[in-house]
Amino acid sequence: MTPPPVLSLITWSPFVGALLIMFTARHHPLAVRLIAAVTTGVSTIASLWIYVAYDREAAGFQFYEKLPLVPPLGISYELGVDGISLLLVLLTSVIIFAGVFASWTIAVRSQEFYALLLTLVTGVFGVFVTLDLFVFFLFYELAVLPMYLLIGVWGSSGEIRPRGIFAWAYREAGVGTKEYAAMKLTLYLLFGSAFILVGIFALYVNAGASSFSFVDLEGVSFAPAVQRWVFLAFYVGFGVLAGIWPLHTWSPDGHASAPTAVSMLHAGVLMKLGAYGVVRMGLGLLPGGAAELAWLMGTIACVNIVYGALSAMAQTDLKYVIAYSSVSHMGIVMLGAATLTETGLNGSVFQMFAHGVMTGLFFALVGLVYEKAHSREIGKMGGFGAVMPGIATAFTVGGLSSLGLPATAGFIAELLTFLGAWRSDHQWWLFPAVAGTFLTAVYVLRVAKQIFWGPPSPHFHDLEDARGPEWVALVLLVAVLVLFGMAPGVAIGPIDTATTLLLSRIVGP
């Protein structure tokens, strides 16, 4: 019996939604939102179903689909999920479902906005479920490119007064405007995808140029030199998207300029795409290269953690704080992967999920605060807790998760990463990672205190708490954060089946 093509359903349902929105819902803003909610809802339900139905005993790729596209070149439409992508598909559907509600109030060209958003999500789902490297790359580009329009058209410009040694360059490049942010993000990510494409072709050619299938390539053991260089290419290419230092600066500008749902999706899911690429293709296809270059990955990850946290502390714009916190937390993801231990890798994948939800929550909240207060200047705010207690609570939960407080998902991820770090070949990684959690505590609580605590700020009047559909996003994300923090086994179980397989190729069974 052929199983129903549930992965295709998950992947293409938003795309169908985008088409419907473009062709049937013109000038019906409510219909646009309903179509978006329904089609992403279908994806969400289907991804919950596969999450439950995934056979944890059997492990490996399940819900397999294959349809040859270009047989002579070995390109086929080949889908399947394992423990890692399972969780990330769930993450994506949760975030986009919340994102649809978080951008409910968008006013300008909402039809095109939702259509692009849904197209982008199709790309993201596609990346996570596809097992064919060529199709993978197509989906990858599909996930990256709509971002340019989404930020360039619906973004918001911040104000940055250029100072310092390159001030003229800042004026020249228009730093701070949404156009600048959109262009920077797109150029960076395309820069990265050039490396990825080269890497994919290098693998294809070195494996005998007969198949792009991940499953086939997994069986090939490449020469050490190929492993090293292609791994490096993947690391840089995907690493750009994962925000590795010093290629991370697109992310603060991009996230700060992007509209709420786009920030949520981008920081929550797209950055995971990079980390997922490194784990799946870097570690999965090039075990030798991974073992050889783990030191580089881990060290840069440590820089990310501490540097990101310190940069976040220095920001005065709320969105920048959150964006830099992503840079810091992606360091945890990369560090976990670099440990090449079971616990570390579990922590890495779990952190992808935890950070996705957490940062999605953060951006949703920042969006709400911005919408109500029309300001992102932390220094001006104060005492919002009294007028928006719901938002304050959700922000606190998100903040606690990001500083790794137990009973939130962030703790599990960080703990596992720490354990992995100390068991890896580079024990000293533990210390910057732990220091990062302290610095996170400093900046998160500082920001929370400044915004929500203290006497009410004189700059704002008539603020109110979240309303209606906005609650859906907040409650959903907070609940996921806490549930996965209290019962991590739900996620770690499937992750573990995948990571042990992955590791057995790197360090031997």
Partner: protein, 622 residues
């Protein structure tokens, strides 16, 4: 030595289920209050739910205390799965140590929650609901900590109680000082927790387990000869330094008094701050493997006791005096644990929990009545509030260590334990602290309840919901004292001269306080100005510069570094990028001028190209 460590591992489902009931009841209350918004908004109703839960939990704890007194029961469930057995487990460990703590925590929580109903009567209903939500969460977390069968679970709840402390200190979040104190408490304890987490990570990497019974078994078989065990235990101890406010991380506790008085009584006197002592006691079999660390713990404890006592002597805020007193008493407990007498330390923990809660609640009643924290603006309150006065004096006498109250016996045991272990200097510091303790506490008593009556205000006795808990605690202080005097518990007495010495020291302190603040025979200002005291006085008034040091480190180091990194990121890392981008734009602009639009200029270009080709083909292409 009757240690507070499980002798063996048993499994009686009834026992562990009872313990689970105790810990889950407040959790259910918390979830109810957190999720059912209308209930929380009702304030008093929320309080009723929370109190009912903790009351049943208290009865269950009492039941378990009487039924499963002597033995240890463990049950665990997998929490974080991994390929070969779970990485981490959760569960309950019910043994005498945790059982005693269960009773203490549920009892004090119950009393404090009842007390709060009246104390916070004027709060808005949603705020009160929020308060009881936090209280339930705290009760759950503290009970979970107490019942932890593994380091990892202990750490989880350790952080959660820290969170509750943060939330409750910041309960009046509109006050900037409360907001500051809350984050300060969180950060400073977090600093210690870094050591804790690193320690348990290292321990796990070396042994592959977090569970106490497995680790203790290894320790008993002398199989725990890990390289760097000393470092690991020191790091774990750091967690206790932060949580139990040991020098030099004690600075957060006095500031934590920004929270409501009942919160201080519960969290910052009776329960959470003793978690550090509890943890070191719990992990005693591991600490005994590293005697150097134990000695350090003892020294730090004794020093903390003395230091905090001197700080308490110059403080004028009644709650802060009590806070320093708590720090000082925590130092006692730690000194006892460090001296290898964890039973004495734990006994002191229990008795101190009772009378310090009493003192804080009493102080709360006073503050509630007069509307200020400053002891110099109080006076003669004994006449207006005789009941409060009596129970406060009972608590003070217990803290000062006078027989037959509970504090006397536990303090005695601590001093004996330290003397027996041969740590002379720490013993002397602790003995001096006895005198100081009596002095500063009676300074508060005389200034508050006796002496001049200030002109303002009409203080009166609080309502019965506040008085009830006070009387219960006072009675317990006395009863436990009598029970201890009967001599069946805490069998550590030390040399014969010890009891007279400590009583004499306490009486001396009381006399000094009486002379200075009641009788006026000694001018406290002049006393403080005489030579050796004047130095301490000046330093203590500046809090030994520690608060300033932390503030400086925070502003100068962390914020400074962040500003530097922020600058580097924006103007160097991103700057180079923008430089490249702007240079490209500029370069393009420059090259654009070559495109003059005159066809003939292009022909020149072609001609030069031809020339280049010719030259190249003739001179280089051979």
């Amino acid at each position: 030595m009757p240690t507070a460590v499980p002798h063996g591992v048993g499994l009686d489902p009834a026992a562990t289920n009872m313990a689970l009931l105790v810990v889950l009841l407040p959790f259910v209350a918390f979830v109810l209050l957190a999720v059912v918004v209308p209930l929380r908004r009702r304030g008093q109703a929320a309080g009723a739910v929370s109190i009912a839960a903790i009351a049943v939990a208290f009865l269950a704890a009492l039941f378990s205390w009487f039924v499963w007194k002597g033995d240890a029961h463990v049950q665990t469930w997998a929490w974080i799965p991994a390929d070969e057995g779970p990485t981490a487990t959760v569960g309950v460990l019910l043994d005498p140590l945790s059982n005693a703590m269960l009773v203490l925590v549920t009892l004090v929580s119950l009393l404090v929650q009842i007390y709060s109903l009246a104390y916070l009567r004027d709060e808005r209903a949603p705020s009160l609901g929020r308060y009881y939500t936090y209280q339930s969460l705290f009760a759950f977390s503290m009970l979970g900590l107490v019942l932890s069968p593994s380091f990892i679970q202990m750490f989880v709840f350790w952080e959660l109680v820290g969170l509750c402390s943060y939330l409750l200190i910041g309960y009046w979040y509109e006050r900037p000082s409360a907001a500051r104190a809350a984050v300060k408490a969180f950060w400073i304890t977090k600093l210690g927790d870094l050591g804790f987490v690193i320690g348990i990570v290292m321990l796990w990497a070396a042994t592959g387990t977090f569970e106490f019974h497995a680790l203790f078994a290894l320790a008993q078989e002398h199989a725990l000869a890990i390289e760097g065990l000393g470092t690991i235990m020191l790091l774990i101890y750091l967690g206790a330094v932060g949580k139990s406010a040991q020098f030099p991380l004690h600075v957060w506790l006095p500031d934590a008094m920004e929270g409501p008085a009942p919160v201080s009584a519960l969290i910052h006197a009776a329960t959470m701050v003793t978690a550090g002592v509890f943890m070191v006691t719990r992990a005693q079999p591991l600490f005994v493997l590293v005697p150097d660390v134990l000695v350090l713990i003892g020294w730090v404890g004794a020093f903390t006791a003395l230091l905090a006592a001197t700080l308490a002597c110059v403080e004028s805020d009644i709650k802060r005096v009590l806070a320093y007193s708590t720090v000082s008493q925590l130092g006692y407990m730690m000194a006892a644990v460090g001296a290898g007498a964890p039973d004495a330390g734990f006994l002191h923990l229990l008795t101190h929990g009772l009378f310090k809660a009493l003192l804080f609640l009493g102080a709360g009643a006073v503050i509630h009545a007069v509307g200020t924290n400053d002891i110099f603006r109080m006076g003669g309150l004994f006449r207006a509030m005789p009941q409060t006065g009596v129970v406060f004096i009972v608590g003070t006498l217990a803290l000062a260590g006078l027989p037959p109250l509970a504090g006397f016996f536990s303090k005695e045991a601590v001093l004996a334990g330290v003397w027996d272990s041969g740590m002379t200097w720490p013993f002397l510091m602790l003995a001096l602290t006895v005198l100081l303790t009596a002095f500063y506490m009676f300074r508060v008593v005389f200034l508050t309840f006796f002496g001049r009556v200030p002109a303002t205000g009409h203080p009166h006795e609080p309502s019965w919901t506040m008085r009830g808990p006070l009387w219960v605690l006072a009675a317990l202080t006395v009863l436990v004292g009598i029970r201890l005097a009967a001599g069946s518990v805490g069998g550590r007495h030390g040399p014969g001269w010890l009891a007279p010495l400590s009583v004499a020291a306490a009486l001396g302190g009381i006399a000094l306080a009486w002379a200075a603040y009641q009788r006026g025979a000694v001018d406290p200002g002049r006393l403080a100005a005489t030579f050796p005291l004047s130095v301490i006085d000046v330093l203590a008034r500046r809090r030994y510069g520690l608060d300033g040091l932390y503030a400086g480190l925070y502003r100068g180091f962390i914020l400074g570094l962040s500003r530097l990194i922020g600058w580097i990121d924006r103007y160097l890392v991103d700057g180079v990028l923008n430089f490249v981008s702007a240079s490209t734009l500029r370069g393009g602009d420059l090259l654009r001028r070559i495109q003059s639009g005159h066809a003939q200029d292009y022909v020149y270009g072609v001609a030069f190209g031809v020339l280049l080709l010719l030259v190249w083909s003739q001179w280089w292409a051979r």
